[in-house]
Amino acid sequence: MPDNWSFVAAAYALTAAVLFAYWRRLAKKEREVTMRERSNANRSRPTADRSRLTAERSGSTAERSGLSAERSQEPSRTGHPRPDPDSRHSLQ
């Protein structure tokens, strides 16, 4: 019987190619998962920073509103006393 080396080469080459492709696929998926984990970690860090900034800003807004509340009690720059909001009448 002839040796049919081409069939032997085809069987071994096909096996090597498919197994190598599967190994590459696993490696690619692992890289993707690692990248996703890293990007998630990076995204969560700026979110924390942002929330801290928002908290600071809301604090300063509260301060400002407190200031304006104080100011409303004070006379205006022109010297006229500010009317009490409760004493205002709606427009007829």
């Binding site: 019987m1 002839p2 040796d3 049919n4 080396w5 069939f7 032997v8 085809a10 069987a11 071994y12 096909l14 096996t15 498919v18 197994l19 599967y22 190994w23 696993l26 998926k29 692992e30 998962v33 996703r36 984990e37 998630n40």
Partner: protein, 215 residues
């Protein structure tokens, strides 16, 4: 651990390849084309291992509802499908010069084709169900049922008249060939079983990472 397993696998496969082409003699009736056996038989036997592991992990999942058992079953099924698919392909390549045909519907080939399709269906079923718990439960049942085909594949050459030769290794009375054929076959079998374990270890690790990444 996985890296060490990878290097061991590579070493076993290289030694096995050398033994298949250097140590193993040219077969008297078939000639050198018989060297396909050193890749075809280990691939099929490693796929049997994969599907038995899948069935055991599926039973464990149904009993304990442990996601780790489901991940092992999933990984084992995927690697098993790759191995059995390659086993069918290399068998077909071996069949053309020795039988004169790429494929024939004899009992061994048909039963192994059914095995391949069932486990392909197993992987497709996983992909079609969105709820992971339900997918794991259905696949565990299918994995156990599909494993019943393994003895049918193995004993088909005894139960029916087939073109396929009887088993080389796992047969009553053991291996009857010479040691120069047996040792390359055993080393290649070790290499492919290690390769199966290496792929499964990496796939399980990947499945765990994917499960943890899902919010």
């Amino acid at each position: 651990m996985v890296k060490t397993l990878g290097w061991l696998t590579a070493l076993a496969l290289v030694v096995g390849l050398l033994m298949a082409f250097v140590v193993a003699p040219r077969e008297v009736t078939q000639g050198n084309v018989q060297r396909i056996m050193y890749v075809h038989v280990p691939l099929i036997l490693a796929s049997y291992v994969a599907f038995v592991v899948l069935a055991i992990a599926s039973i464990l999942y149904l009993v304990r509802r442990d996601p780790a058992a489901d991940r092992l079953a999933h990984a084992s099924g995927e690697v098993g499908v790759v191995f059995v698919g390659l086993g069918i392909a290399t068998g077909s390549i071996w069949g053309k010069p020795t039988w004169g045909t790429w494929w024939t519907w004899d009992a061994r080939l048909t039963s192994v084709a059914i095995l391949f399709v069932m486990y392909l269906g197993y992987l497709l079923l996983r992909g079609t169900i969105d709820d992971p718990e339900r997918a794991a439960r259905y696949c565990a049942v299918l994995g156990i049922v599909a494993a019943l085909d393994i003895p049918l594949v193995h004993f088909s050459v005894y139960w029916w008249r087939t073109l396929h030769q009887p088993p080389s290794l796992m047969k009553p009375g053991g291996f009857t060939g010479s040691a120069s054929i047996l040792w390359p076959l055993l080393v290649n079998l070790l290499g492919f079983v290690l390769l199966y374990a290496y792929f499964v270890a990496r796939r399980v690790r990947l499945l765990r990472a994917e499960a943890e990444a899902v919010p």
